[in-house]
Each structure stands twice: as structure tokens, then as C-alpha cells.
């Protein structure tokens, strides 16, 4: 689910950037460092333009200046039970991996409807019901998050497609 969240970030700036363009430097630094990063709980999708930079403070010993930036960002946080769309990245015998933006999900064999079977001899290997449902690398797929765990900068999810309207998306 997407949220608008207020965040804070401390940015250190090398003395060579001190000058009239200092705000632009801080802005760029913020965008490159923060956008797309994941804290383990949520992913920062987009930083809004309206942000607030504190007065800089020169760090003793280094000469670098430290700025605290308050900003608002659109963040995405997956929840258990949420339905997400993703792209299949890898297909193996015990299931397949799905990339949902910053979230890496796995759909195990038990979470796949029984009519969809694994075909190891196909190149590339695929899960298929020998009809119009084919899951191979690159397939767009809709899954429901069944379990979620976060580590320091990563999130893992278990997905299922054993419910109505889940499965490969028709392109």
C-alpha cells in the first residue's frame, strides 16, 4: 500500500560543494541516495519537491558539513494479504520467484493451483496448465502476499496464486 510519509535524512557534504549551488547539491544527493531505497519496512518511491534543509554544521576534523533534511515522500509498504503485481524472475521445480518492485516474493508449489504443473523439459522451464496459463521467466503475474518478513534493507514475501483472479496476467 502507498503512503505519504514525512522523513528525515542527514546528509554530509564535502567542502568542494560549498557555494551558491549548495541547495541543488543537497537535493541531488537526497534523490540519488533515498529514492528507491528500502528500509526493510517500506520502500521510498518518490520524494516530493517541497523539502526543508536545516542549517549546515561543519564537522570537526573533516571539514564536511552536515545538513538535516526534512522531506515528504511517497512510500510503499506491503502488507500480508495484499494483492500485488509482479514479474517472474526465475522458475524452478519448487516454485517461482516474483519481483514486485523492491519486494522479492516466492510462490511455492503448494501455493500454485494443482492444474498448473511444472514442465522441466520445456526451454526455458515453466509452470503451465497446458492451456493459456504459462508461467515462465518474464511473465507478468498477480499474487497475494501470504507471509512477510523484513531484514535490515530487504523484504521477503511468500506469495500465493491459489485464489480467484490471481495468476498470470493477460497482456
Amino acid at each position: 500500500m502507498f503512503f505519504l510519509k514525512e522523513l528525515e535524512k542527514t546528509i554530509q557534504l564535502h567542502p568542494s560543494y560549498f557555494g551558491p549551488l549548495i541547495r541543488a547539491h543537497i537535493h541531488r544527493e537526497l534523490l540519488t541516495k533515498e529514492e528507491g531505497s528500502s528500509t526493510g519496512k517500506f520502500t521510498i518511491v518518490c520524494i516530493l519537491d517541497n523539502f526543508d534543509i536545516s542549517d549546515g554544521q561543519v564537522m570537526p576534523g573533516t571539514g564536511a558539513a552536515e545538513y538535516t533534511v526534512h522531506y515528504k515522500a511517497i512510500v510503499w509498504r506491503p502488507y500480508k494479504g495484499e494483492v500485488v503485481d509482479g514479474v517472474v524472475t526465475s522458475v524452478i521445480r519448487s516454485g517461482f520467484f516474483v519481483d514486485c518492485g523492491s519486494l522479492n516474493a516466492f510462490v511455492g508449489r503448494a501455493m500454485i493451483p494443482s492444474e498448473i504443473k511444472f514442465d522441466a523439459n520445456a526451454t526455458p522451464p515453466q509452470w503451465t496448465d497446458n492451456g493459456d496459463q504459462v508461467i515462465e521467466k518474464g511473465t507478468n503475474i498477480r499474487i497475494k502476499i501470504k507471509g512477510l518478513r523484513s531484514e535490515v534493507d530487504k523484504m521477503y514475501a511468500i506469495g500465493t496464486m491459489k485464489e480467484d483472479y490471481l495468476g498470470p496476467l493477460q497482456t
Binding site: 520467484f97 511455492g108 501455493m111 526455458p124 507471509g147 512477510l148 530487504k154
Partner: protein, 786 residues
């Protein structure tokens, strides 16, 4: 899952009452039974006195898992004495066999959670990773075995085996030098033919080299596509490389653009957990019966029996394995690469010489290996030092930096370009010489225009590999069908007989590659007894060295000393005649061969004919003493009288010499004097060629001294080859044997006697020889003989 009595309770405990009965559902942390125990506690009364009393407490035992109770192992009122007693069996709805990133794939629960009831974390149930491209997915032992069983059936029905393919220097060779791109763009370049099919790529997230946009140039081993085509009918192929994932995928795109050979079966350093070794169990955790590996390095596989070691593919000379710089370098590899490099160019030169009669072809490439050998030694030392520091992060960082250094060196210093320029220069020089020569011989003129190419596109390693792999495949399925028909016959018999037919497990008639391959290999050099000389660095256990292990895997026995009864082959360095070689040369039965013979045998899996690899040992060395004489014999017979005959005979020799011979002799002695101790043997080998029948040579004192100096020679020093061309007898050689017999002990030369008291040092030896020479030369007269 069985629940056992946990540690940490006040044993003995007595069960009071079951809260849950058989077939009842239990929740985690819900009570299973009540029990009581007795304990000694201190109690204070209202007067403040403290007493220790024994009390009985009642407590509840909680379930640590969800599920249904299937069996109670204890009875009401039972007393449990110690931890580890079976209490109850609870069937879980999910056994968490497959886990992804700490989550159970089937129930979605967090496996890493712990609380006061946790005895063993759930993530210990699934610890095996058998996916190629993901480290987060783990399975349990049971699940892994099941998956492998499936894979096995599939492979058997398709009549295939699994083949693990290494990338760098096995099927491809990569360099980062942009010279390749320039050569590719220039059809005039002598290397154009060789490099025109070289593919290049860049890695987007290249954090190895901070140099912008690093290009990798990949040369496929000749005939790779056909090799894969044929092999994919017999093997299901996997890539297993020590390179990064991005690199592996980029290379896979080049060697397998349609993804039909490998699919997604690519395993790289990123998924390997360790960057120090490869393990078959990473891909086949329980069963490696049907896996065959091809790799150019055996050490990182711990000399696995599944390994088919292949000749190193070294297309860009000196480039090495850019991804191995990250690995801990094994000593074996360091010594192996240059030797291989020596051997290969020489083979090429032979071909080259027949095609175009130019003699310089080998020179520049030969100069390369000596450089690497010396460089390699310092690398060994560095590695030994760094190995001590174990897995510290600084070490890993340092390794990463080393790899970066290698790449940057290739980019900036461009060793290939330098080598080519050197080659061109030598071509020019040779060209001038040969115009005159060829004009005389009336040979073809065309080749003068030809610049020599540095790169040779004539590697035939894949043919050899293919032959071996086909052999293994046939052996496996022959054995399989044999066992299978046997088993079926047995089953029919069993059906007819009184015994109930038991369905035999598939394992019973699937042969094991681990047993088959060593059998095939063992027959190759069976019965050979091998001695290495001048090949393996001193101070290394010969049998445990890379070459030693390699050749023993083919059935040969490696020994460390010359044993005339058993020894069959000496593998020696052709440039140096060590004392071992000379000793062995006395026995015509013992074959003295170059290391190339070993490489050929071990790569072709055949005992190849030794003749082309034979090292010529001059007759003098061979006939210096009959081979029946062992070193001990020589030591015993060597006495003063022997020395006398030597000086005697030397004078005899000298007396028969003409002036120009004297000149040559003088040069030779000068050479000898200028040389360091280590090169004695060369002088010796060059000078003794004439006296094939002088059997008592070795009894002279000089000989013995030389032998002593020889023994001080380390095999690591690279000897400057002395001029062997003169072929003149040197003063220390004696005349014919019969003469010695007659004159033995009759004349004692006073000078020689005086020198006899000289110390054993080499100064004494040199002084003695010099004095002898000067004296004889100044007289220039035949010395009187009795």
C-alpha cells in the same frame, strides 16, 4: 514432531494429569499436561528465621508447536528422570520443508521468530540450498532428496548425466585489454584471424574496476558450439563459475544465446557462499552419482572423483584467469600455468615450422613463462602470508583490489600489445637473416611478408574433453543397462520363486560416476612408477602436489627417489639435467620424458607414446657408469687411485689435442669458472659426450665433488644454460677404460697429489682445475706416461 522433555526443568518430575488427549488439536503455548516436582527452598517465618524446607510444586507443560496429538509416550503418573525423554508426538500441519528468506513457503510463517518456548528455531529445519540463482531459498534434507530423486528419474529417462561446466579457461578465455578491439578492427593485423570471433561485453554494475566502462573480451574455445551441441544430447549442463553473477550471465549469453544448453542453470560466486572452493554438494546436496565436472583446476574441487580435468585454455598469453585473481591462488596453479604455457607453444612451433620454415616462432612465448615462473614464486609467498590471515574482511577487500589491479593492468599496460610488438621486431630481424638463407635454399619466398601472430587459434582441448565425456557417458549407461537387466531378471526369478517380489529402489542399479570414472582413469597409467625431477618446487610433498595427485589418479605411482628396479618414467625439466635424471638415464628401461607427456596422458586418458616427449640424455651421462651402479657403489669405489687415473687420463687426453681444441677447452673452463655452483651440471653434461665407455669416470674425486655441489642445487633456481656445443672432453674425464686398467696407480703426479690436500670447497676445485689447465697449456707437451 516428537516433543522430548526439555532441559532446565526440576527433574525428576511426575506427570499428574493430561490436559490434551490423543487426536486432540493443540495450539502453540497451550498446556499439554500438568506435573509436579519437589524442590528445596528457603522459607522465612514471621519471626525472621530462615529455614530450608522441601516443597512440592505443581506446574504445567506447554506445547511448543501447533498440531494434532498422535501419540503419548508417557502415562499418567509416570516419573520423568532426565531431559531427552520422548513425551508426545504431535503432527504438524506444516513441517516448513521449504523456506524463503526466513519464511515458510507453504504456510507463510516467520521461521526466525523465537520466544520462551522455542527449543530449536524453525529455520534450522531447512538448511540446504540447491537453487542455482538464489541464496534465499532453502530446503530440508528430505525435500532435497525428493527433488534429486525426481531429477534423477528425469535424467535416466532422457539418458543423460549432469555436467558442471566451468567458464574461465575451460570453455572460454577472457581478457580486458582493449588491444583486442583494435586488432579486431584491423584486418591487416596478424592476429585478426584469431580474434575476429572474439565477443565483447560491458557490465553495467561493474564495481570491480572503478575505471569507467570496462570491456571484457571473450574468446570461445575453438569448436565450442559443436561441443555443446553434441554434449547437450548426453548431459544436462550447468554453469558453475567463480566469476560474479553479472559476468556469468553475460558470458552465458555469448556461449548460449538461445539459452538451450544451460537455461537458467548458472551458479556464480555470488551464490556460492565461499569464494575459495567449489562443491558439488552445493548443487547436488545428497546425491552426486550422476554429476560430471569439467574444470581446469582440480584444487578448488578438492580433487573430486567426479572431475574431468581439462587442459587449460590459454588463448591470450599472460592474461590468466581474471576471476581467479580473487580466489586464493593455489601453488599448484602457479606452477602449472607456466609449464603448460611452455609445453603448448613448443607443440605449436612444430606445426608452425612445418608450415612455414621459420625458427623464431617459439622464442617470445618461451620468454613469457620464465617471467611468470619467477613472478609466481613471489605470489606464492604473498598468498601464504595472506592465507594466515584467514577470512578477515580486509583480506577479502584486498583480494577484490587485486582483481581490480589485474584488470587495470590489462587495460593500461596492455601486455598483449607489447608482446606482439616484440614478436614483430623479432620477425623483422629473422626476416632479414632468412632472405639470404632462403635464397640459397631456393625455398618459398612468401612467408617473409608474414608477421607472426601472438595468438594461436588452434586449441584442440575440446575434442579431448568430448572424447572423455562420451566415454564416461557410455560407461555409465552400459553399466546401468547391465545392472537393470540383471535386476529385472532377478525380479522375474523372485516372482517365480517363493520369495515375495520386493520392488527394488532405483538406487540399486544406478551406477556411481564417482566409482566409474576413477576406474577408467586408473587403467590409463596403471603400473607406471613415476619420479618428478625439476618439476615440483623443493620443500613440497611430491605426492600431495597438484601434479602428483593428478597423475596418481590415473593409476601411476609416484616415488621420490630413483629406484632402478621399479621406476618406469622420469618426468623432468628438459632444460636441466638433474642428478636424478642422470642416475635414471643409466637404465635404458627408464623413460625420461617432459611434463607434456603427463599432460597428454592425463588429458587424453590414454597412455600416449613417450617418444615425442623423450628427453635426450647424452650417452656420456647414460654410459658414465653402468646402470647397475647405484650411488652407493660409486661412493665406495671412489678412492685416491681413482683420482690418480683421472688426472693421468686427463693428461693423456690433453696430449692428443690440437691447438684449436685447446682454445675451445680454455673457453669452456672459463665458462665454468664464471658460473655459479649451481650450473655445474650443465658444464658436465656438455663436456662428457665423447667418452661413452669411460666407466670409471665417476670414481674420480672431481666427480664426487661435483656430485656434492649438484646436490646443493635447488630445483627452484633457473639455471643459465651453459654452452653445450663444444662436446670436447674436459680435463676431468678420463681416457678409455683399458688404459686406466694398465696404468692404474703407476704414476702419481706430484701436482695432483699436492692439490689433493685442498679443501673440499669449490674454490679448491676451481683452483685445481685452473692450475692443471695452466700447467699443461704452458708446457704444451705431452706429459710423460710411465
Amino acid at each position: 514432531m516428537k516433543i522430548k522433555s526439555p532441559p532446565g526443568l526440576h527433574y525428576p518430575i511426575t506427570v499428574n494429569k493430561f490436559v490434551k488427549q490423543k487426536d486432540e488439536e493443540v495450539q502453540r503455548s497451550s498446556p499439554l499436561f500438568k506435573y509436579h516436582y519437589t524442590s528445596v527452598v528457603e522459607e522465612g517465618d514471621k519471626y525472621g528465621d530462615v529455614k530450608t524446607v522441601q516443597r512440592t510444586f505443581i506446574a504445567t507443560f506447554h506445547s511448543s508447536i501447533d498440531g494434532t496429538i498422535t501419540k503419548w509416550f508417557i502415562k499418567d503418573g509416570a516419573e520423568i528422570q532426565r531431559p531427552g525423554v520422548d513425551l508426545v508426538e504431535i503432527e504438524e500441519p506444516c513441517t516448513h520443508e521449504v523456506q524463503f528468506g526466513g519464511l515458510c513457503v507453504n504456510c507463510g510463517k516467520d521461521m526466525t521468530a523465537t520466544d520462551y518456548l522455542t527449543e530449536e528455531r524453525n529455520d534450522t529445519r531447512a538448511t540446504i540450498n540447491m537453487t542455482h540463482d538464489n541464496v534465499a531459498l532453502l530446503v530440508s534434507q528430505k525435500e532435497a532428496a525428493r527433488a534429486e530423486e525426481d531429477a534423477k528419474r528425469r535424467l535416466l529417462s532422457a539418458k543423460k548425466l549432469s555436467l558442471i561446466v566451468d567458464l574461465d579457461q575451460t570453455v572460454i578465455h577472457t581478457t580486458c585489454e582493449r588491444t583486442i578491439a583494435e586488432w579486431q578492427a584491423d584486418p591487416e593485423n596478424p592476429n585478426y584471424e584469431a580474434v575476429k570471433d572474439v565477443k565483447s561485453f560491458q557490465l553495467a554494475d561493474d564495481n570491480v574496476a572503478h575505471v569507467a566502462a570496462n570491456w571484457y573480451y571473450v574468446k570461445m574455445r575453438p569448436g565450442l558450439k559443436d561441443f555443446f551441441d553434441r554434449m547437450s544430447t548426453m548431459y544436462e549442463m550447468h554453469i558453475y563459475t567463480m566469476a560474479t553473477r553479472a559476468y556469468a550471465q553475460a558470458v552465458a549469453k555469448i556461449i548460449d544465446p538461445e539459452r538451450k544448453y544451460f537455461g537458467d542453470r548458472i551458479l556464480s560466486r555470488d551464490e556460492n557462499y565461499t569464494d575459495k572452493q567449489k562443491s558439488l554438494h552445493r548443487l547436488f546436496p545428497t546425491n552426486t552419482d550422476m554429476a560430471v565436472i569439467i574444470d581446469d583446476r582440480a584444487d578448488i574441487w578438492h580433487y573430486s572423483d567426479n572431475l574431468v580435468r581439462v587442459p587449460v585454455f590459454n588463448f591470450f598469453p599472460g592474461a590468466g584467469d581474471i576471476n581467479a585473481s580473487f580466489l586464493p591462488k593455489q601453488q599448484e596453479l602457479v606452477s602449472a600455468t607456466p609449464k603448460k604455457a611452455v609445453a603448448e607453444p613448443s607443440a605449436k612451433d612444430e606445426e608452425g615450422d612445418t608450415a612455414k620454415p621459420v625458427s623464431v616462432a617459439g622464442k617470445p612465448t618461451e620468454s613469457v613463462p620464465t617471467d611468470t615462473t619467477n613472478g609466481g614464486l613471489t605470489e606464492i609467498e604473498q598468498q601464504l602470508l595472506s592465507m594466515g590471515a584467514a577470512d578477515a574482511p580486509e583480506v577479502i577487500e584486498q583480494q577484490a583490489k587485486e582483481q581490480e589491479k589485474v584488470i587495470i593492468t590489462q587495460q593500461t599496460e596492455r601486455p598483449l600489445l607489447k608482446q606482439q610488438l616484440l614478436l614483430d621486431k623479432e620477425d623483422e630481424a629473422a626476416g632479414e637473416e632468412e632472405t639470404t638463407e632462403v635464397a640459397q635454399n631456393g625455398d618459398s619466398q612468401e612467408h617473409h611478408k608474414h608477421r607472426h601472430s601472438l595468438l594461436h587459434d588452434d586449441d584442440q582441448g575440446l575434442e579431448v574433453i568430448e572424447a572423455n565425456l562420451v566415454r564416461v557417458h557410455h560407461a555409465f549407461y552400459d553399466e546401468y543397462s547391465k545392472k537393470k537387466t540383471g535386476a529385472q531378471g532377478g525380479r522375474v526369478a523372485a516372482l517365480r520363486g517363493e520369495k515375495s517380489p520386493k520392488k527394488r529402489a532405483i538406487e540399486d542399479f544406478v551406477p556411481d560416476v564417482k566409482n566409474l570414472m576413477p576406474q577408467i582413469k586408473h587403467d590409463v597409467l596403471n603400473g607406471c612408477v613415476i619420479l618428478f625431477s625439476g618439476i615440483i618446487p623443493l620443500g613440497m610433498d611430491v605426492r600431495q602436489s597438484d601434479f602428483g595427485l593428478w597423475i596418481s589418479s590415473f593409476g601411476a605411482e609416484v616415488i621420490e627417489r630413483v629406484d632402478h628396479k621399479r621406476l618406469t618414467h622420469v618426468i623432468a625439466n628438459p632444460d636441466r639435467k638433474t642428478s636424478k635424471v642422470k642416475d635414471a638415464a643409466k637404465n635404458p628401461r627408464i623413460k625420461i620424458v617432459t611434463a607434456e607427456w603427463m599432460f597428454q596422458c592425463c588429458t587424453q586418458w590414454e597412455r600416449v607414446d613417450e617418444t615425442p616427449y623423450h628427453i635426450e640424455v647424452s650417452d656420456a651421462e647414460r654410459g658414465g657408469s653402468p646402470w647397475e651402479f647405484s650411488e652407493e657403489d660409486i661412493a665406495i669405489t671412489g678412492d685416491e687411485e681413482g683420482e690418480d687415473t683421472t688426472t693421468e687420463a686427463a693428461r693423456l687426453e690433453m696430449s692428443n689435442m690440437s691447438d684449436d681444441k685447446w682454445q675451445a677447452l680454455g673457453d669452456e673452463i672459463d665458462d665454468f669458472l664464471n658460473e655459479s655452483d649451481e650450473s655445474d651440471d650443465d658444464n658436465n653434461s656438455g663436456s662428457e659426450t665423447d667418452d661413452s665407455d669411460a666407466s670409471q669416470n665417476s670414481t674420480s674425486k672431481l666427480q664426487r665433488r661435483k656430485k656434492r655441489t649438484l646436490e646443493r642445487v635447488t630445483s627452484l633456481t633457473n639455471v643459465v644454460t651453459a654452452d653445450k656445443s663444444s662436446g670436447l672432453p674436459s680435463p676431468e674425464t678420463t681416457g678409455p677404460e683399458e688404459e686406466q686398467g694398465e696404468e692404474e696407480g703407476k704414476v702419481i703426479d706430484p701436482a695432483a697429489a699436492a692439490h689433493d690436500v685442498d679443501s673440499d670447497s669449490n674454490d679448491g676445485l676451481e683452483a685445481q682445475m685452473l692450475a692443471e689447465f695452466e700447467r699443461s697449456a704452458s708446457e704444451d707437451q705431452p706429459v710423460e706416461v710411465a
